[in-house]
């Protein structure tokens, strides 16, 4: 898939650490004005991909192009929010923001206004003069994000931006991220292992596993791609019998496919509600004890991931 209106484009991007290939021939375009989400489990190659995309890591092969900005990205054009909290704990919130702004060469007057604005938008105005070490985890996470966009970058890269946040802080960070691309940045690339984050924030999602980019599309299209039927997750008392259950349920009428994911048996079937009792009876007859059974009638990105990889995201 090609689009002339891209901001970042990778061609056969590959990174190997010795014999281990972390990212395999990544071909991808991030378009003007979009939030692109990399979804995948831990160790899938998300962070390695974005580090290569912004020049933090040299690829083993392949190249990155930044559209009208050429092959290399000037430092002030990109803002990177690392996965870990990277703050100077002995500086206040305001000083942290100003220090990073100074390092990016933001003019003093502009920087003061910008720092106040970022603090306000991230709900940290009250904590302006508090040392970073005195902030709560959620506040530190928001300040971490603020420091990556203090210099008004055109491309923002967010590595697991809401990791460790409580639900309330998470939603406010998501709203802030969506506001950024509407108001001031050309595109945002985020990595996440949270399907809800990828689903709610991203315009398009790339699912990556074992260094391979499996699919790229909008969350809606991806969810549709899973196909018809509902998803039934069954937890057995004896997990060792999961493979046997997968094989047995696959042969029943109305069952589209079965798999074992995260120690549970996942069944995609038509008329899931009506078939629940049938599945339970068959499993009981086979000497298996069901301790939990749940039905999902709306497809999620996790279903997409399971559909693509046969495994869960966890």
């Amino acid at each position: 898939m090609t689009d002339d209106n891209y901001v970042v484009k990778t061609e056969d991007l590959r990174k190997a650490f010795g014999d281990f290939v972390a990212v395999k021939d990544l071909n991808l375009e991030v378009r003007e004005g979009e939030i692109f989400g990399f979804l995948g489990p831990n160790g899938a190659g998300k962070t390695t991909s974005i580090r290569m995309m912004v020049g933090l890591l040299s690829p083993t092969s392949g190249k990155v192009n930044f559209g009208d900005m050429g092959d290399s990205l000037p430092e002030e054009k990109v803002g990177v929010c690392p996965q870990d909290l990277v703050l100077w704990e002995e500086l206040t919130s305001y000083e942290n923001l100003r220090f990073m702004g100074n390092m990016y060469g933001v003019p003093k007057r502009k920087l003061n206004k910008r720092a106040e604005r970022v603090l306000k938008d991230l709900g940290l105005t009250d904590k302006r003069d508090n040392l970073a070490s005195e902030l709560s985890g959620g506040m530190q996470r928001r300040l971490n994000l603020g420091m990556s966009i203090i210099h008004h970058p055109e491309i923002v890269v967010l590595d697991e931006p809401s990791a460790g946040l409580d639900p309330q802080s998470r939603y406010s960070v998501w709203e802030y991220i969506k506001g950024l691309v509407e108001e001031e940045t050309r595109c945002i690339i985020l990595t996440t292992h949270l399907m809800e984050e990828a689903d709610r924030v991203s315009d398009r999602v790339g699912i990556i596993d074992n260094g391979n980019l499996k699919v790229v599309d909008t969350p809606e299209n991806l969810k549709k791609s899973v196909g018809k039927g509902d998803s039934i997750k069954i937890e057995l008392e004896d997990k060792r019998k999961n493979p046997e259950a997968v094989e047995m349920l696959q042969s029943l009428d109305g069952v589209i496919r079965t798999s074992e994911t995260s120690n549970r048996v996942v069944v995609r079937a038509l008329d899931a509600v009506g078939n629940t009792n049938v599945f339970r009876e068959k499993l009981t007859e086979a000497g298996m004890t069901v301790i939990d059974m749940s039905i999902s009638q709306t497809n999620t990105l996790e279903d997409v991931f399971i559909h693509l990889t046969g495994r869960g995201l966890e």
Binding site: S58, D84, V86, W88, E90, F99
Partner: protein, 471 residues
């Protein structure tokens, strides 16, 4: 100019990190306090140091001004000089020197009946004679050179056509009114004779270190006195001044400034300054390793900050903190009775030297941070390096001599490759012996040169290991 922001950030971090600050200032200050209280009693009274002397000097035949040959024994003169030394503002002798046999010397040292043993070699007088000749030769060539230039200028200005060598040469050499050449106009030949005096003792014995420190100063004064005397006597031959009847070498015994109330602590205090400065390398290394470990260095690398901004910006606050550290240590030392000799200038020079030694410690910190991944590693490795270094550079007591060559006529020891060795020595001269900046010029030069070298080594490794992207 971004280094200014890095420096301001560094200063804020240093002064807001209470634990780090306590380590930086309180630890050496407490160390100084404990040391001071434990050792400030010291010798207390002006009691002479018993030293043993083995004088094997065979003397040397020296021609006096009227050409008469006489035997001179500089070894005996040196021993007399040592015996005549007194504590400042006191009639009490500083040393009680006694001739000992080589077979008994070790036993006396072991029993601490003598604090040290001074061994004067058989060729001591010969080498001093060469020192005199060397100075005479240098003075004569310098004076004759001046005369030749003056005479040429005179000829040129008079427009004289016939060059008369006698009028050019005579009448000058040996006095302005003399038209005759002196009897012996040949320059003395200088042979490369070097004598080696040995000071033997137990480096772990406090009185050995104290008496050795004084004795080394006396020996240097003796050498310098002989050379100065030779130059003055030779210069006098070129002027109309009264005929000099003194012997060629005359040593004036002078009390060593500040020795009137020296205590053990006084000898150790400059070393503790150096110890404290070396400890600051741990702080620098920990601070930089924390930047690496917490990812802040990577965050900075993403910005437009250059390596220079980071390194120079790091150097400034740590240098300021080391100066502050030295001032605090000085204050603590004075409070507990440190006998600081010399005037305000000695203090200012000491602060300057300490600041440069502090820069050397920053460089050491850079080097340590280059090979450590986190604060804990940096702290451990820093301690592992800084503490032994403080002993190696002679902060507490001198280590056995390990000469590796000669530089500017002085023996260069293995430990002299470390800038703090020179800082420690310079601080002792300035603070204990009341010396001036000219007395520590060589140490000062080495300190600056080696600090710059170490800083570049630190910058090289830190840049290579930490400032290039992980590619």
């Amino acid at each position: 100019m971004k280094f200014i922001y890095v420096a301001i950030k560094g200063l804020k971090e240093i002064f807001r990190d209470k634990k780090g600050l306590a380590f930086l200032v309180a630890f050496p200050a407490i160390f100084m306090l404990v040391f001071g209280l434990a050792f400030s009693g010291g010798q207390g009274e002006n009691k002479p140091y018993p030293i043993g002397v083995i004088n094997r000097d065979e003397g040397v035949m020296i021609a006096s001004a009227d050409g008469e040959q006489s035997k001179q024994n500089f070894g005996n003169e040196l021993v007399s000089t040592i015996e005549e030394l007194t504590f400042e503002d006191s009639d009490a002798s500083m040393f009680e020197a006694r001739e000992v046999g080589s077979e008994k010397a070790n036993k006396l040292l072991e029993d601490r009946d003598i604090t040290l043993l001074l061994r004067i070699p058989s060729n001591f007088s010969s080498s001093i004679n060469q020192l005199i000749k060397s100075n005479v030769r240098r003075t004569v060539t310098s004076r004759v050179g001046e005369m030749i230039i003056t005479e040429f200028n005179s000829i040129a200005s008079s427009g004289e056509e016939n060059f008369n060598p006698e009028s050019f040469y005579g009448g000058k050499f040996g006095g302005e009114n003399s038209n005759e050449l002196p009897e012996d106009t040949s320059l003395p030949e200088v042979e490369g004779i070097t004598s080696e005096l040995t000071i033997k003792g137990d480096p772990g014995y406090v009185d050995y270190n104290k008496s050795r420190g004084i004795l080394v100063g006396v020996l240097n004064q003796f050498k310098e006195g002989v050379a100065t005397q030779a130059r003055q006597e030779t210069s006098a031959e070129f002027t109309d001044g009264p005929e000099r009847t003194e012997e060629f070498v005359k040593i004036n015994s002078e009390s060593i400034s500040g020795t009137q109330s020296l205590t053990t602590f006084d000898y150790y205090a400059p070393g503790i300054f150096i110890f404290a400065l070396l400890m600051s390398a741990i702080g620098v290394a920990s601070s930089l390793a924390t930047e690496v470990d917490k990812g802040t260095l990577e965050r900075l690398k993403l910005s437009k900050m250059s390596s220079f901004d980071l390194l120079f910006g790091t150097l400034i606050p740590w240098s300021i903190s080391t100066v502050a550290q030295v001032l605090i240590l000085f204050g603590v030392a004075l409070l507990i009775g440190f006998n600081w000799t010399g005037g305000l200038s000695s203090l200012l020079y000491s602060v300057l030297i300490a600041a440069i030694a502090g820069v050397a410690s920053v460089a050491l910190g850079l080097l340590i941070a280059s090979f450590t991944e986190n604060e804990s590693q940096a702290s451990n490795l820093g301690t592992l390096i800084s503490v032994p270094l403080s002993f190696i550079v002679g902060a507490f007591f001198p280590l056995p001599k390990v000469p590796i060559g000669q530089i500017f006529g002085s023996t260069f020891e293995l430990y002299d490759v470390l800038p703090w060795t020179h800082a420690a020595e310079a601080l002792r001269v300035l603070l204990i012996y009341g010396g001036g900046i000219s007395d520590v010029a060589v140490e000062f030069g080495f300190l600056i040169g080696l600090t710059v070298l170490l800083f570049f080594i630190g910058v090289f490794f830190f840049s290579r290991e930490r400032l290039t992207s992980v590619k």
